[in-house]
């Protein structure tokens, strides 16, 4: 096995996870459950293809993809923050809605029920010059930047305060509502970038193309114990397992289904606390009355 090709393939697989997991970390640290990452990614992927297809420029595609994720994030934020709807239910609804809306628009704009036509991208043939894709670079630095934001900036301090002790934060003048809105908006845009990367990398949108990647990102957030860098490490680990599976495909060493299970099994183990318990932010998912 060629280590360089292994590494490039692993990074390419990890990028959507890295974006989405960073988004998941910021929302969950602010106390909002991020079961919606899958839906944000999917809407971002579709909006990116739509934008690219109509403008011809992948840069416009990136912008419109981020905007697509933002719209779904705002629906999520209004439902959970303004209306205090149950965050798990809204998460399920947002994911179903994203599948439905992208399917409907796929039909409306591209007259297809399976995939869009081919659109432009950033180049980025992984074997030759995989790293000429700006989103790839962005994906690599997003986790360290998120770590800096969360641990070293006033906004990050507020996010952590709001996620751990919203009452205390409120009492010193932090607007819990505003911080949460911003955190969810950021999570929507970041997760959407993961979807944008995916769609532009494949030069098209296909129905349900995110295929559970948002849930792998949530796994990474939990397995990384809600820390940006650890979550990023988990993303790389999961991506490495997937790469291994792809590169071993001919060998039939381990059935691919068992490799697929790794992220999910590790998450359950982490939650059960076999090797050090994963403890979520204290106010995660709670609705104050």
């Amino acid at each position: 096995m060629n280590p360089i090709s292994f590494l490039t393939q692993m990074i390419r697989i990890a990028i959507p996870y890295l974006f989405a997991a960073s988004g998941g970390v910021v929302a969950e640290r602010a106390g909002i459950v991020s079961l919606t990452l899958e839906g944000f990614m999917l809407s971002g992927a579709f909006a990116a293809v739509l934008g690219t297809s109509y403008s011809g420029s992948p840069w416009i595609g990136v912008l419109s993809g981020v905007f697509g994720g933002l719209i779904f994030a705002l629906i999520h934020a209004v439902a959970t923050i303004r209306y205090r709807a149950d965050q798990v239910v809204v998460g399920v609804a947002i994911n179903l809605l994203a599948i439905g809306v992208t399917r409907f628009f796929l039909k409306l704009f591209f007259a297809s029920s399976s995939n869009s036509p081919r659109v432009a991208g950033f180049g980025g043939n992984i074997n030759a010059a995989g790293f000429d894709n700006p989103l790839l670079w962005l994906g690599i630095i997003v986790a360290p930047v998120m770590a800096f934001v969360i641990y070293k900036t006033p906004f990050g301090l507020r996010v952590r305060a709001v996620g751990e002790h919203p009452d205390a934060a409120e009492s010193v003048g932090v607007s819990v509502t505003r911080v949460r809105y911003v955190a969810v908006a950021i999570s929507g845009m970041l997760a959407a970038l993961g979807g944008v990367y995916l769609a532009l990398d494949q030069h098209q949108f296909t129905d349900q193309m995110t295929a559970g990647r948002g849930f792998i990102a949530i796994s990474a957030v939990i397995f990384g114990r809600w820390d940006p860098l650890r979550a990023a490490a988990a993303c790389l680990l999961f991506a490495a397992a997937e790469t291994l599976q792809i590169q071993l495909q001919g060998a039939h060493a381990i059935p691919s289904q068992f490799i697929e299970m790794i992220p999910y099994a590790l998450t359950i183990i982490a939650l059960a606390g076999v090797v050090g318990r994963a403890v979520p932010p204290a106010a995660l998912g709670k609705v104050e009355d």
């Binding site: 459950v33 079961l35 629906i75 439902a79 209306y83 205090r84 709807a85 149950d86 965050q87 798990v88 239910v89 809204v90 399920v92 609804a93 947002i94 179903l96 809605l97 994203a98 599948i99 439905g100 809306v101 399917r103 409907f104 796929l106 039909k107 409306l108 029920s113 559970g212 849930f215 949530i218 796994s219 939990i222 059935p255 289904q257 068992f258 697929e260 299970m261 999910y264 099994a265 998450t267 359950i268 939650l271 059960a272 606390g273 318990r277 403890v279 979520p280 204290a282 995660l284 998912g285 709670k286 609705v287």
Partner: protein
């Protein structure tokens, strides 16, 4: 806490924990779904208009294609059957304050086990006996999947939402491995046809239903709904379960073993979803096919929510969502059926936002760090 003797006021099940006058209770239960329906109709109008069609004409077509003829109605009943099972499963967990997002894989595991049982039984096994064996197999498989989050929650406090989501992927991958690697008919992703346990279809009883997949699993679903109602509202165990769902700490002080109730609630939630597998396997295709659940488990969450976690409401909500799904096919020539996928999401979102009461029911499920 283990001592059941110290539970003085719980002996007689109360009819309703809210004790609201029936009218108030009815309003609280009915208004959110009606609001959601209205929102869905408006969204539906917009989607239909975006396609340049007339909403009135499309809705008429939808009704004609679903309730207006026996075939369409039979298809609605068939789809409603699976949704009734998953909806009952989710609502059973929610009554205990627990969120079972694993109905999808429990349904698949149940269908798989039912098919295995139907394959193992010899040809010519009496239907009643075969049905019984297949249902037990399906229920056991679903219950086995459901017992994992139940155990992890009770023993380690692992949150059932995440565990059931993760377990969906694991169980579906495992089933895929079984089917793709070991049990499939060549060139397909399904098992051979079962030897015993094939359920009669409605078309066998009334030929007008010819061609539709509706079958006697429908009766089983109604019976399960009745059993759930009886357990929740007429049995001691159900009273404990609802008490835990409303206020786990208070229930604990009242002498209820909360952990045991959680175990029971999630495991039986899995059992109910698992039995749902018979609708497809025994009633429709007569084999297990990879991916047959195709979202019915997740839609069960919507069904439970819109049905207000009451068995009768769940049956009605299952019928409603089945109508949406079948209605999509009926209008597909004019507006893409994908419109219904949008409306499903809209309905869930609208109900979730419209129901303060849902929050109360879910009180236990909300905290991520409970016990």
């Amino acid at each position: 806490m283990e001592c059941e003797l110290s539970a003085p006021p719980l002996a007689k099940p109360a009819p309703s924990p809210a004790r609201a006058p029936w009218r108030e209770a009815a309003e609280e239960a009915l208004i959110p779904p009606l609001v959601a329906l209205l929102v869905a109709l408006i969204c539906g109008d917009l989607l239909i208009l975006s396609y340049g069609q007339s909403p009135a004409a499309v809705y008429r077509m939808l009704l004609e294609g679903t309730w207006g003829n026996a075939y369409g109605f039979g298809q609605v009943l068939y789809k409603a059957t699976t949704l009734a099972f998953t909806g009952l499963a989710v609502s059973f967990g929610l009554r205990a304050g627990l969120f079972n997002i694993g109905a999808e894989s429990q349904l698949a595991a149940g269908g798989f086990a039912a098919a295995l049982a139907g394959l193992v039984l010899p040809v010519g096994t009496p239907l009643i006996f075969a049905l019984f064996v297949c249902m037990i197999a399906a229920g056991l498989a679903g219950g086995l999947v459901g017992s994992v989050p139940a155990y992890l929650k009770t023993r380690f406090g692992a949150h059932e939402v995440i565990v059931t989501i993760m377990l969906n992927f694991i169980v579906l991958a495992l089933l895929n491995w079984f089917i793709a690697g070991h049990l499939h008919v060549p060139e397909t992703l399904h098992t051979p046809e079962i030897h015993a346990g094939v359920l009669p279809r409605l078309a066998d009883i009334d030929p007008r239903f010819h061609g539709s997949a509706a079958n006697l699993a429908l009766i089983v679903a109604v019976l399960v709904a009745f059993a759930v109602w009886f357990y929740l509202f007429r049995a001691r165990g159900g009273y404990d379960l609802r008490a835990v769902g409303l206020q786990p700490q208070a229930a604990e002080y009242g002498g209820i073993n909360v952990g045991r109730v959680w175990m029971r609630a999630l495991t039986f939630s899995g059992v109910i979803a698992g039995i749902g597998g018979i609708n497809y396997v025994l009633g429709y295709k007569h084999y297990y096919e990879d991916g047959f659940a195709s979202g019915a488990g997740f839609l069960g969450i919507a069904v439970a929510l819109v049905g207000r976690n009451h068995p009768l409401g769940v049956l009605l909500a299952a019928f409603f969502f089945a109508t949406l799904s079948q209605g999509g096919l009926a209008i597909h020539a004019f507006v893409p059926k994908q419109m219904m996928d949008v409306l499903q999401g809209v309905v869930i979102l609208a109900v979730a936002m419209a129901v303060p009461e849902v929050r109360r029911v879910l009180r236990g499920a909300r905290g991520w760090k409970d016990a």
